[in-house]
Point group: C2
Chain length 358, copies 2
């Protein structure tokens, strides 16, 4: 507010109306390193800065060899109400990782390699250091996902957002060879369902999380021992599965051992896994096949019915693969070698496109 | 609020926490037609719906012939505070066109053909009919820009957005042949600067517009005759320049007559045109060379200095081309035939990367 200037009482400037363009310049300087560390030779210099340019043919023409019929795969998502919780705890940087994770894990489900990412940050007033921190987190996420942070937009909307509030939207574009698209069409009875451990709540269900945490007593021990500070448990960034999954697909390129993949977001397993299964199959999932992390026990204890928990949260499984049974063991070993925690959570049977708990 | 349900006093459901997933299903049905009318054969069916798929190689392999070294061009933008004004007037549909325009005109500046678009809509509470109207407008914009509405995300964040409020972010991906990228590098002294008429204020400077309009007397005539209702003048959607510009570039493909293009957004002509000009050139612009639309006279009358007006608003010029002088006449004729209003607003001289008013 102290920055406001005006040309006299009656004359308004753009800055006085609440938009500070010099803060914008300072922010651009601050975030330059965050973006440039995600670049490789495929990112062209940004002529005039109106748009980001990404050479689909690598200079060494690798792509031409790798992709005969390239299909672009695009996804967009936000972080949702997790932002508000992160703001309360002064931990906004990690929401940048969440933002990237939400889109790249979606793009990954068809077997696509994420190429680049763009972000949209909207806020009450542009605080360059805050934006730089968020973009730093987005850059962390892009590095984890192996994609370029090709561009972004920061919007100052004092009349839309409350002071200190901001919203994030992310966009990811990936590429996959047309005949290697993983779409669940070949899923058949007998296939094995592997679940990859989530890092926590990820980025869905936070409107509910927020209301539940408000029920905690201000003092004293938590009703459930989390083994770590509450803020760590509820704010840990969404796991990015790109590297291990792409390595796996590359390894089994010819064998097509992975038949479907799902990113477990809003709606939990029942809301996401059936989407990638043919109508004549059911997925049978055993809840006892993996350990539910204590943070979900805490949320349930605060007042959510067991069934609702599984309809809203990932409950410990963040990404799912439907694989050919003969390869379930070797796929598990390979993913575990890459640092993933893998559970055999169920199987495919003849049915009608439903998820059945067993 | 009337839709809230809960499982008893203590037990919370996701819906009771403020997120209504069945409204989401209804919305998805409502917007299906809006998205599908933008599809052509390049859009693949959306397996599982995690991400949108776009075949870069047309089935008929046209692209392979058209693009030897395809460069992807991506841009993202929002509509900013224009949303709030549109909400006050109950005219949200057209903001969807603004959203598309902001990104596709950016992507267009390098000579790229927009391929697809994704949207992010964040709101207090999901009102399917409102979202459907916005997405309808986005679909209108995509149709105008000739790109597919490949996907989108709607986020309900009751604790972030005020009731009835929403924010929009858009994301566009285009493609351009590497050696046809228009980047201003060949701009030279003597080049002619053509300005294409804007449709009004477009989508920048609305924090200021909002404050200025609040100064209007509640009753009586406007201090400036707009020749149309105030709401029409201030809310007309941003013009989309894709069709005429792509037709022009196609016509002159071999001659490279267009040397630079700029989308006039926040910062006006001085903030955008110098970005695409080499450091050893200046652009000299004559303010008298085009008529300033009355809506800008109104805003100035309400209390903004003349210089500030040109630093914030497009003042009637929404898109700029820097062209080889010998072709300025034929380019103008061609664009006018396509329905554009074109002004010869200035020229390029030796200098140091500045815009000079004359």
């Amino acid at each position: 507010m102290g920055k406001r200037t005006g040309n006299g009482d009656e004359s308004l400037t753009y800055k006085a109306s609440g938009v500070d363009t010099s803060a914008n310049d300072r922010m651009v300087d601050l975030i330059r390193r965050s973006t440039q560390r995600t670049f490789d030779t495929r990112v062209l210099s940004r002529h005039g800065g109106f748009a980001g340019l990404f050479g689909l043919d690598y200079p060494e023409r690798l792509l031409r060899r790798n992709y005969r019929e390239p299909v672009l795969v695009a996804g967009t998502d936000g972080v949702g109400s997790k932002l508000l919780l992160a703001l309360e705890h002064g931990r906004v940087r990690e929401t940048g990782i969440d933002l990237v994770a939400m889109s790249v894990n979606d793009v990954l489900t068809v077997g696509a390699e994420p190429l680049f990412f763009l972000d949209y940050v909207a806020c009450h007033r542009l605080v360059p250091e805050q934006i730089a921190e968020i973009v730093g987190g987005i850059s962390d996420g892009c590095t984890q996902a192996g994609c370029a942070l090709l561009g972004g937009e920061t919007a100052e909307m004092p009349a839309m957002y409350r002071p200190t509030h901001f919203d994030l939207a992310g966009f990811c574009v990936g590429v996959v060879e047309r005949r290697r698209i993983i779409d669940g069409q070949n899923v058949e009875p007998g296939d094995v369902i592997l679940g990859l451990a989530s890092s926590g709540i990820h980025s869905n269900g936070y409107s509910l999380v927020h209301k539940l945490l408000a029920r905690l007593p201000k003092q004293g021990d938590l009703p459930v021992d989390l083994g770590e500070p509450l803020a760590d448990a509820v704010l840990r960034p969404t796991r990015i599965y790109v590297e291990p999954i792409l390595a796996l697909l590359k390894r089994y390129r010819r064998k097509r051992v992975v038949r479907a993949m799902a990113h477990v977001t809003g709606g939990g397993l029942p809301g996401n896994l059936p989407r990638v299964i043919p109508n004549d199959c059911d997925v049978h999932i055993s809840r006892k096949s993996w350990p539910v992390p204590p943070v979900f026990d805490l949320l349930r204890t605060l007042g959510v019915e067991e069934e609702e928990m599984y309809r809203v949260f990932n409950m410990g499984i963040g990404f799912v693969l439907v694989v050919r049974p003969a390869f379930a063991g070797s796929i598990t070993a390979r993913l575990e070698k890459q640092g993933e925690t893998v559970y055999r959570i169920g199987g495919v049977r003849r049915g009608s496109g439903k998820l059945i708990w067993r």
